[in-house]
């Protein structure tokens, strides 16, 4: 399956292991990635907060570039925040022909135009809806047996439900659980699994931000998770990179490894931890992986 691939900024910046691991697992899942390397940042909601038309036009440009990729079945992203920001802009663009014409007039300078109805899926959605859980399960070489994984969804991929097309028939807010199970792992439920990581206010109210992250990590520890997995690199920044600071705010030792979704999938598909960049996290996933044999097992 060929997809127009939008990796986002953070996956090429502070979480390069996300972009890297996606590239590694794509061929194993028969996904051909055509990277949208000409596209710009989605704005993560911040540019929309600044100027709605600007955010809509920048994202319409990305959508138009995706629509130019020959033979691509759809657009795919690996960042919950990108998914949320893009879905918001796309909803406005798809809702009103006159507005779309107005935005396309700006894109015309570059010879681009966005036609309504692009399909844009986060890798998690694509995994479940296009590749399928049975198909995924059949490709598992190293099942995550006994691995207790806490899903951390990130807000932008579960809310608002209506805009993201989440309902009983399409329970996208449960996909992470389903993927963990398909890979042979055990789903650990904990209070914070669909809550906010706190990242959006890290510069505005650092204590509240880190308190959110610290509480979720603590809840996951209390539920005896071995690790968390997230489809959002911004959540990863707060959960992993900032974990040493979050420990101080909530006043407890945390030491909870946090994996990117493609890393968890990659482990189950038989890739080596180092190939997936698991050695590059702030909290090293030593409780997840027996580094000597590269066999997945719960250390505890």
């Amino acid at each position: 399956m060929k997809v127009a691939y939008w990796p986002g900024c953070v996956s090429r910046g502070f979480t390069p292991e996300l972009h890297g691991s996606m590239a590694k697992i794509a061929p194993l899942l028969d996904i051909e990635l055509v990277e949208l390397d000409r596209a710009c940042c989605t704005g993560a909601g911040v540019i929309a907060e600044h100027n709605q038309e600007l955010a809509d036009t920048l994202n319409a440009r990305t959508f138009a570039l995706a629509q130019e990729v020959e033979g691509a079945a759809m657009m795919m992203n690996i960042c919950s925040t990108c998914q949320g920001a893009q879905s918001e802009c796309q909803q406005r663009l798809d809702s009103n022909a006159e507005y779309r014409t107005h935005v396309n007039a700006t894109l015309a300078a570059e010879g681009l135009s966005y036609e309504t109805g692009l399909t844009n899926k986060n890798f998690l959605w694509l995994l479940v809806e296009e590749i399928g859980l049975d198909n995924l399960h059949a490709r598992v070489k190293r099942p995550l047996t006994n691995l207790r994984v806490g899903p951390f969804y990130g807000c932008y991929i579960v809310r608002p439900r209506e805009r993201l097309g989440i309902d009983e028939a399409q329970p996208r807010d449960r996909y992470l659980d389903q993927v963990i199970e398909a890979l042979g792992g055990t789903v650990i439920e904990y209070a914070g699994m669909r809550k906010c990581c706190g990242f959006p206010i890290i510069t505005m109210n650092k204590e509240a931000s880190l308190k959110q992250t610290g509480r979720h990590l603590g809840d996951a520890m209390d539920a005896e998770a071995d690790c968390l997995v997230t489809p959002c690199p911004l959540c990863h920044l707060n959960l992993d990179l900032q974990q040493p600071l979050a420990e101080k705010v909530v006043g407890r030792d945390l030491d909870m490894p946090v994996l990117h979704l493609p890393q968890l999938v990659g482990l189950a598909l038989g890739l080596e931890p180092k190939e997936l960049g698991l050695n590059r996290h702030v909290v090293r996933p030593t409780s997840v992986i027996d580094w000597s044999s590269s066999v997945v097992a719960a250390a505890a």
């Binding site: 596209a39 710009c40 911040v46 807000c155 590059r280």
Partner: protein, 389 residues
Amino acid sequence: MAEVRDRPPEQFTLRLRRYDPESGEAPYWDEHTVELEPHRSVLEGILQARDKFDGSIGIRCSCRQAICGSCGVRVNGEASLACHTHLDAAKRGARDGVIEIEPMGNMPVLKDLIVDMDAVHWKKIQRVTPWLLAKQPVPEREYLVSRESMVDVTQTMACIQCGACVSDCLAMEVDPGFIGPAALAKAYRFVGDPRDDQQFERLNDLAQDPQGIFDCTHCFKCVDACPKDVNPMGQIMRLRRIAIGDHHIVDENNGERHEAAFTTLVKEYGLLWEAELLPRSYGGNSRFGKFAPAAAKELLSSLPAILKAVLHGKVTLMGALKPHKIPKRDLKSVQAIYEKIESRKERYELNLYITGQDEDEASSAAPVAAGAGAESPAAPTSPEGSANQ
């Protein structure tokens, strides 16, 4: 509809959170099985349990038709009106087939499912001066305002003060002093009203307050919790936009600096440069921002995380010192888009709350220029609606 209502009564088991603070006993769960038609409400289920099995179950309700806002509770962990939630849908959403009903969050429990709205919700509403401060002189007859601006504030006027958004607000969960979604939506009702005289004062107050508009963590919880499509988070984003875009308010919480730094970095490089975003959010939106005392202080406090990130090869020196960029030609196109749109006299916005979808009858309504300052009451005020973030 007739078919739905013809369905015979079924059994539904409710798991109720019980707590009487005056008893000195800890909270506990109580289960009752009621029998009702599936389309009946969770509220009817609770009332039947109270009538049949235990008269001491505490629940507040009045209109039973999603107008009075009295019966806010959490059903299966999410805040909603008990009278506005069907039993069959609640059962399908339950983890183990038992409908779990708890009091709303972020507010103290008075008894069982009744929370103290006065202690939290109403205090916060009072905080935002929830009345019109009319422009002077007051006209002898009625004020004339545009249809769009009235439809626009109607969205926030649809609030029935049920507290569902307050209950599920994730920022308030860690920072109880946060003014919160209901009160800030109420603030927009007056900020967006062209008859109000205090737009700048209201916005400056809410921007400078460390628990004001920049304390919202953008989690969309309030958007989903609201039974009336008020879209509180969307209203908070518009408060930020008008505060920064129209009034150029520079707050003490890094809100304006963060937005300016983010927007500028994407314009300069096409992609976000995280290593530069953080110091600029503290120290100011330029290359020199990182040398400002506020940025240096922040850098120092983050040192434990930064050191580990560098040691583990997560962040490289190159990554921190050099931005990743998009190709030159594309960057020029992106910058041309910025220049064209930012040079407009007024922001151009689509308010789906006013225009609806194309299929709707209202489809002919065109997007309107927005961002009216306090001085131009005839222009519609930054209208974007429920579809907006």
